[in-house]
Symmetry: D2
């Protein structure tokens, strides 16, 4: 898996600040935008607004990622997020090459399981090739391709939705692969000076609730009403 | 594949009529709702409003479908539609049983292809079972399950979005399986007296444009600017 | 103001139950739908799923309301909710009649303010009429109509979004009029046997967080980290 | 009214190209992104994809505008577009100053109408001030403020939605003020080299249908089935 932040709204701090100030100010957005507020002052207002739960101003920051080499299991989960834009490599139109699959760590780390997995995947891919040779169109031959097959996507998501999705996908109950995607996304944001202050807020939901909403906690926070962690 | 309309907004004609009239009338929605307009009169206004491209009134009709036994290829396409609600059978939590897969017609109708397909699917399922016996969690073992595996969903979509999605998915360029889903959805609506008048508008986009927007037409309509069908 | 539940998805408990069970069951939605689970058993599963924060199953319940006689201040706030469908009486096409305005209680209860308000509104409406007599189109004459002018809407919203919106609009920080709309909506749901169990969950956000996220609490819950209420 | 493009996704042509290519290519988005395709080649693919009606790739371009000095009539229409983000100056929290109102051209150009309009607006504002002096909170005093009062917004919209909204709001049937907003938005895009190629596609819907869907045409295109313009 490889995740890369391709591009994002320039001046993210100023954009969010201008949006937040516009709501409470007689000044026009242009006046606020071209003002000389320091980054510290801007981040201070942003933290106050976000802290009060008014996250809508974060929607003005758009982030575009390349997400490469994830399984189709993972992409099927990923595209369930509806406030985002996806352009995904098509299995109808792009012929799948041998070896392009994801091995779950639990299988990688169990020798007998790994052997079964690898040989099945290889057999499956050669059957896929044979179907195509028999004249079956790749869009139908792919019905025997496994979830493990790699896919690539370009994903654009705004920062508010990224907060919300991270609450679910950074949770230890999320599957390892999609948790990895959002961990990597957070890592990408941490590399950018103007995004680092926002990236720190990308956390599983228990950090915001101060309790675990699931029936059983992973140990980070106790369940609601519970005094100790299970 | 089995598609069934489980439930829908009662009084769909009156609902759309009330919404449409509210925009242009001094009467309240309650007055319009409890009025004694005939179904003919109501449908006549609706047709006029829809014909003028003001489809937003159709959003007040919500339709809930059971979609059963489609492949994971098809469900991956289906959940890309973002103005809809999906509850899908989870491969993380529900163990997959043998035999529950979809065979594309092109494979079903080619003897040698069918043999390869069936034996590969059986082999794959038995490897899935062996991985689970080795202690691999089903959520990881499923990485070698193929796209052909069946899944079930409950899908709720409003009527306006169903119009828009049908423009794409009833097109002959859509893959046979998802085209079949939306054909079956249209069939379900045709069975209900109060929905039949709406169902007739579920058509591929060329019916609305009077041309095919794709580079090459299937023959229903000529491409834009073309005088004859390819 | 008058709020009325015009129509809603029939069998709401069974709909949500079927959606929730589909995710974790080998049974098809049709099998679950036609099963003989009691309402108690169904509500028990629903409460468990909602309690764990998995509210997406609530999206399958669609509710259509008539909202009548609210001010344009209030409707401007209302239509900001984007996961909903609105059909609103048009000031471009419907001529506004005298007397159709909303008086805020703070003005109603202050004699001198009430007098100013009423005479200004009456003057304004007669100027509106004079502009139309001068040949100005109502869509332009309305520029001098005040926020207080009444409007009607048909609003369709799913139950999940209604939960989310109620968190904000039932808060004592929301303006009295839109808080009244969502109070009345909750009241409408409480009247329906099959919706009452859901209506109880419509609460301001502090009930779900166990703290007030705003800088200053209204008194229902202390602010985050605070031990006493201000 | 003043409209200004504050910021937008950098490298818009490359972003859309990368998204479009990813769907049909074995290459990763990073490889496509860092490739050396010329702008001409990129725009040629984009035009082909858009021409075929596959506009989803345009969603990766996010545009943030300052929209200043529009009436509340206009902003009430504007925020009805749900696939967009708005941060609007609040009449609850920002006290309205005298003179900040919009005069419709039809009123501006009719002397008697203009006189009525101006004196009514001035009277109304002074009553607003008197209510506040009497202790009425601005959020209630604003009930007598007219639609003409100016407001400011920061709006972020993706390019696909901007196409769709422009189809409606650049139509001659749209009200002059919101048509002006989207005309100005198009003008802002035309000023930027990398957006000009996209801006040319911002057109009323009749340009895309080759007919007018309304019952009566403004004259640009004939109504559907009509051979001449009314």
């Amino acid at each position: 898996m490889k995740v890369r932040l391709l591009t994002y709204t320039p001046h993210p701090i100023k954009s969010v600040f201008t949006a937040a100030r516009t709501c409470y100010s007689p000044s026009t957005p242009t006046e606020i935008w071209t003002g000389d507020d320091s980054k510290e002052r801007m981040h201070s207002l942003i933290d106050k607004v976000i802290g009060a739960g008014h996250q809508s101003v974060l929607e003005h920051i758009s982030l575009t990622f390349s997400i490469e080499g994830i399984s189709r299991s993972c992409s099927h989960q990923l595209v369930r997020h509806r406030i985002a834009s996806f352009s995904q490599q098509s299995q109808r139109h792009v012929r799948v090459e041998k070896g392009g699959w994801v091995v779950p760590p639990s299988i990688e780390n169990t020798r007998s399981a790994r052997r079964i997995f690898q040989s099945t995947l290889e057999e499956m891919h050669s059957c896929y090739e044979r179907l195509i040779e028999l004249g079956i169109h790749p869009e139908d031959a792919r019905y025997l391709l496994p979830n493990a097959i790699r896919t690539n996507l370009v994903m654009t998501m705004n920062l508010r939705e990224l907060y919300t999705v991270s609450e679910i996908r950074l949770c230890n109950r999320a599957q390892w692969e999609i948790r990895g995607v959002f961990g990597a996304i957070k890592g990408e944001l941490m590399k950018v000076d103007d995004l680092r202050g926002f990236a720190n807020h990308l956390q599983p939901i228990c950090y915001h609730l101060s309790y675990c909403p699931e029936p059983k906690s992973c140990g980070l926070f106790p369940v609601k009403g519970g005094t100790t962690v299970d």
